[in-house]
Each structure stands twice: as structure tokens, then as C-alpha cells.
């Protein structure tokens, strides 16, 4: 199934869609949509970067916004202290996020499953308190303001659209390459059974650390872009639980086993949540969202791509009838490979 889904054909379709998106700002699409498109692209990239560790390896990090935050604070603090232009310090955002990931990895990879989930959430809270309590570096709860680089509103939207698109394509390329590489196979082996993977000669710690650092570096870049786009960074929005939970939900909604899933999930998620907020208001949209989340996890555990994989696998594979019924059973999470 993996070979089938991460095929070049899927990637070609992706490339065509990206190419079509790239000319959008030069058509007569209203500015509002270009502006919204940035948030879709940002979250698509974020979900994709989360999925490199969370989806392929099965280590669910609830601290992904730590990397978004540290990426943002890297460019923010350098601007605050030395007035270095955020565009020049962008790569440093990836470096600092990767270093943080290495540090978290050293202390947290000893633990698994729910423990890893909670430990990463704690790291997130620790980062938030640090950002609040070190005003000499981060300007505390007031946050740091970043400069506008052009006063032309639609020009700015257009630039950010391309930055978002570029980062989304970059994360997707990385995820695609990892999925097709030996590293990707190792990661999936860890997901299915870590002890067996280790016995079979997979360098478990090594692979997890690489996956975590790549995932973090990409999130750091995205965080830097997000922060500069918002022109301000402050502790509660930089290190928020919502920002950590969103990519997880997108990946689960789309399907977390392939690079396609997080993209589909992010598009549906952002579009649906924007639509709900606009149409029924914040409170009800939160409520609908909660119900939606529960239903997706209970009814579609493999996400949207999981359904397609099932539909496609059924006619081509001549499975024995008993196997087919288990694969279609409501509680089964087995993949009809």
C-alpha cells in the first residue's frame, strides 16, 4: 500500500496542483483568499512536519508548537537584540528548533506512548514559562514587534503566499523523500513494533532522533514565517496547545501514514474551521469542532486517505473473504496491505 500511495503518480498530481496554485496571485482572486491561503499552506506544512515523527514513527508529540515558537523567537530575539533582519535569520530558526529537538529527544526518547505525549506537552509549557520569565531576552509577556517590510497590503499578501507555498512544498518533498527512503522504512518499523525493529538491526535511537530533528527544523522554519507574517510574537500564542493539537488532528483526519494525508487534512480542517467561525460564530464552531473530532477518530481512524486505500485495495487484491471482512469491520485498524 505504501509503495502504491507514495508513487510518482501521486507526486505528479501534487506538482500540478502546486503549479496551478502558484499562478493564483496573478489571477483575479480577491486578496482575502490569498491571505487565507497562507494559513492553509502554513498548517499543511506544519501537519506534514509533525507527521514525520508522529505519523511515520508513531511517537506522538503534543509539543510541536515548541518548535514553531522557538523558530519565531529565534528571529524575534535576534531582531530585538541586534536588529538583524528576520529574512536573514530564517535558517537559524531551523537550527535552533533542531537543537531543541535533539535536547528533548535525549531526555524523552527513553519513554514511549502516552508518556512521550505528555512529556512533550510539558516541554511546551516549560518553553512558555521561559519565554514569559526571561524578559531581557524575549521582552516577557509583552512580546516582540517585528517590522513590516512593505506597506503595500496586497503585495505583502502575495509575498507571504509564495513563502508559505515554498515551505509547504519543501516539507512535502522532505516527507516524500523520507517515506521512500530506507530511513522511512526504519521509522515505520519502529511504529509497528519498536522492540522487534531493534532486534532486526534498526538503529532505533538514531532514526528517531533524525526524524525528530528534521520534523522540528521544518516546524522552526514555518514558525519563523508565521511569526514574521503576524509581525508580533508573544509567549501564549507562540507556545500554544491549540497550535500543537491542530497538526495532529489534521494528520489524523487526512490519514497519518502517507505524505498525502496531512495535506488533505490541513486543507479540509482550515477551510472547515474558517467557514464555521464565519457562519456560526466562535463558540458554536468550537462545539461542532469537538463533535467532529470525536466522530472522525471513532468512525474514520485511518483518515480520508485510509478510505481511498481501502477502496482501491479491495478490487485489485484477491483477498480471502474472511480477511476482507475483518479489514472492513468497524473496530479493525488492520491495513489491507
Amino acid at each position: 500500500m505504501h509503495a502504491q500511495q507514495s508513487s510518482w503518480r501521486g507526486f505528479a498530481i501534487f506538482a500540478v496542483i502546486v503549479a496551478v496554485c502558484a499562478i493564483l496571485p496573478y489571477t483575479h482572486v480577491p486578496d482575502f483568499y490569498i491571505q487565507q491561503a497562507f494559513s492553509i499552506l502554513f498548517f499543511a506544512g506544519l501537519a506534514q512536519s509533525w507527521n514525520i515523527l508522529g505519523g511515520y514513527t508513531g511517537y506522538l508529540s503534543l509539543g510541536h508548537s515548541s518548535f514553531v515558537g522557538i523558530g519565531g523567537y529565534t528571529i524575534g530575539c535576534l531582531f530585538y537584540a541586534f536588529h538583524w533582519s528576520p529574512f536573514l535569520t530564517f535558517p537559524l530558526a531551523a537550527v535552533s528548533a533542531a537543537v531543541l529537538a535533539l535536547f528533548i529527544g535525549v531526555i524523552c526518547f527513553r519513554i514511549r506512548g502516552s508518556y512521550f505525549l505528555i512529556a512533550t506537552m510539558l516541554v511546551l509549557f516549560i518553553m512558555q514559562t521561559l519565554a514569559n520569565n526571561l524578559p531581557s531576552i524575549t521582552n516577557g509577556a509583552d512580546g516582540i514587534d517585528l517590522p513590516l517590510f512593505t506597506s503595500d497590503f496586497s503585495e505583502e499578501n502575495r509575498i507571504w503566499f509564495y513563502v508559505g507555498l515554498g515551505l509547504m512544498v519543501l516539507t512535502t518533498l522532505v516527507a516524500f523523500c523520507i517515506e521512500r527512503s530506507r530511513l522511512g522504512l526504519n521509522l515505520m518499523a519502529i511504529r509497528e513494533d519498536e522492540d522487534v525493529a531493534r532486534t532486526m538491526g534498526v538503529k532505533v535511537v538514531h532514526c528517531k532522533a533524525i526524524a525528530f530533528m528534521v520534523s522540528a527544523a521544518l516546524a522552526g522554519l514555518l514558525g519563523a514565517a508565521y511569526t514574521y507574517r503576524a509581525h508580533v510574537i508573544e509567549p501564549t500564542t507562540a507556545f500554544s496547545v491549540e497550535m500543537s493539537a491542530a497538526p495532529i488532528m489534521m494528520a489524523i483526519l487526512g490519514g497519518s501514514r502517507t505524505w498525502i494525508g496531512p495535506l488533505i487534512g490541513a486543507v479540509i480542517y482550515v477551510a472547515a474551521s474558517n467557514f464555521l467561525t464565519l457562519s456560526v460564530g466562535n463558540v458554536f464552531s468550537d462545539m461542532l469542532f469537538a463533535v467532529f473530532l470525536i466522530c472522525v477518530v471513532l468512525l474514520l481512524p485511518e483518515g480520508i486517505t485510509g478510505i481511498f486505500a481501502r477502496l482501491r485495495a479491495k478490487p485489485t487484491k484477491a483477498e480471502p473473504p474472511s480477511g476482507a471482512t475483518t479489514a472492513m469491520g468497524p473496530g479493525s485498524a488492520l491495513h489491507p496491505v
Binding site: G54, V297, G331, A333
Partner: protein
């Protein structure tokens, strides 16, 4: 200084109570119960609601609130958690966390709609009374809270170790398959465990309603405290939970006196992370 530490101990016992329900329901069958702390806030609102409607003292209406919460907990187990039980372990972790996170969010929004987002508190004739013991000035409600927490934890301990159902809960915890072989109806035990955990969250809710102010957005801070206590204490260990609660309370008080109140959360999170890394099963929990 001493007064602050004493207050830390009193707060710590409240934290122990907050973590107790979670300690029962979290980690069991690979379920990450992020919804339990939301039920604490539900408990606080239920006590507020009933005591206002029936014009009775908050302590008297508590059993009513607990019954409602037990029923809610049982429903959650049957409707939301049971369908997940047949899935592989690594998927269940995240899926249970997501489903229950959704539930927590749902609860928070429902509370906002029903009671508004304002901070509330329950005021009784004795809310502001202060007791002087050996030169310390301690608020009466917190002393009552500590007493209540101790009694609750003690009864929980007795229940788990002395009664048949309690032992069955611990057995299911220790090894689900073996418990099943010993003719324990694990599905029913699940329901009882979750209901019990939710009801204990209700007692914590009562205590919080009387000693702190609360709002629908209190769910997140109490989730953090609850997990801190439940994790440090070790899942399913009542004694560990109590020690962990006191530790968190004392650390919080000590840091706020010696450094500054800004760093209390940092200290608590770091302590928790340390315990996680060094001993993920908690102080008195079973080794993994």
C-alpha cells in the same frame, strides 16, 4: 514563610485530590484520560448550580453532583472509550487522547454556553474565616478541604484494597487478560473505574469551588496539575498520589517564597519532566 509552607501543604492536599481521579482513569487500557480534569470543573459548576437552586450548603448537595458525574463517566466509557479498545496499542494512545480532548473541549464550550465565561466562586458564611493554629493563620475552607481530601483518599485506598470490586479494579489494572481469566468482568470494571474517577473529580470540583475561583477556561490549568500529580504519584497508587500532591504544593510554595511566583509553574513542570525521565512509572507506580 512558615505560613506559606503550611498553605503549600493545604494546597498540596487539594492537588492530591485533583490528581486522584486522574490516577484512576489515566494510563488504564492505554487510555490517556485528558477529559478527567474537565469533569472537575463540571463538578464545581454542578455544586454551584445545585446549591443555588436548592438553597442548600454546597457540602449537602455534593452527593447529588457525584451521582450525576458517576453516570456521566459511565456513559463516556461506554460510548467513547469502548469502541477504541479493539485497536492496536500505539493507535489507541493518540486516538483516546484525541477523543477525550474533543470531549474536554465540548465540555468547556457547553459550560461557557450554560454559565458564561466569567470566573465564579461559591461564597458561604465561612468563606473568609481564618483559623489560628500555633501562630499560623490558615483559611478555614482550606482546612476543611484538606480534611475532605484526606478522607476521600483514605476511603479510596480502603475501597481499592479491602473490597472485592476494588481488588478487581487493581487486578484489571495489573493485567487485563489475567483478570479476565479469573472471571472478572473487565468491561463492567472499566465502567465502574471510569465512573469512580469522574466522581472523585466531582469531589475535587467541590473543593475547588469553595477554595479557588473557577471558569470554563480553568480546565487547562487543572489538567496540568492533575497530570503532574497523577504521573509523579504513579498510576493507580493512592498513597503515591497523596505524596505527589503534597510535593507539588510544597515545591510551589517554596519557589514562590524563595524565587518568585513567576517561576512556580516552571519548577512544577521541570519536576514532573524529571520524574518522567527518571522514573516514568511514578514514585509508587509499578515498573513498566
Amino acid at each position: 514563610m512558615l505560613n506559606v509552607l503550611a498553605l503549600g501543604i493545604l494546597n498540596g492536599s487539594i492537588y492530591a485530590l485533583v490528581g486522584a481521579g486522574l490516577s484512576l482513569t489515566y494510563g488504564r487500557q492505554n487510555v490517556i484520560d485528558v477529559a478527567n480534569p474537565a469533569f472537575i470543573v463540571v463538578g464545581a459548576y454542578l455544586v454551584l448550580f445545585f446549591s443555588q437552586r436548592l438553597r442548600l450548603d454546597p457540602y449537602i448537595v455534593t452527593p447529588l453532583a457525584l451521582a450525576v458525574l458517576f453516570a456521566l463517566g459511565a456513559i463516556v466509557q461506554v460510548v467513547l472509550i469502548n469502541p477504541l479498545l479493539s485497536r492496536p496499542d500505539f493507535e489507541m494512545h493518540v486516538q483516546s487522547a484525541l477523543v477525550l480532548f474533543g470531549l474536554a473541549l465540548f465540555i468547556q464550550v457547553t459550560l461557557t454556553l450554560a454559565f458564561s465565561a466569567d470566573f465564579r466562586g461559591i461564597h458561604t458564611g465561612y468563606t473568609d474565616s481564618v483559623v489560628r493554629i500555633a501562630g499560623l493563620r490558615l483559611p478555614l475552607v482550606k482546612l476543611i478541604a484538606t480534611g475532605l481530601a484526606s478522607v476521600t483518599l483514605l476511603s479510596l485506598y480502603t475501597f481499592l484494597t479491602q473490597t472485592f470490586i476494588g481488588k478487581a479494579i487493581l487486578a484489571t489494572y495489573a493485567n487485563r487478560e489475567t483478570a479476565q481469566l479469573l472471571a472478572i468482568n473487565v468491561k463492567r470494571i472499566d465502567i465502574i473505574t471510569y465512573g469512580l474517577g469522574t466522581a472523585i473529580a466531582g469531589i475535587a470540583g467541590l473543593v475547588i469551588a469553595l477554595t479557588f475561583s473557577f471558569s470554563p477556561s480553568s480546565v487547562l490549568p487543572w489538567t496540568v496539575i492533575g497530570f503532574a500529580v497523577a504521573v509523579i504519584g504513579g498510576k493507580g497508587s493512592v498513597l503515591g498520589t497523596f505524596i505527589a500532591g503534597l510535593t507539588v504544593g510544597i515545591v510551589e510554595a517554596a519557589v514562590s517564597v524563595t524565587i518568585s511566583a513567576n517561576w512556580t509553574y516552571f519548577a512544577v513542570y521541570s519536576l514532573l519532566l524529571l520524574v518522567f525521565v527518571v522514573r516514568p512509572s511514578g514514585l509508587l507506580g509499578e515498573r513498566l
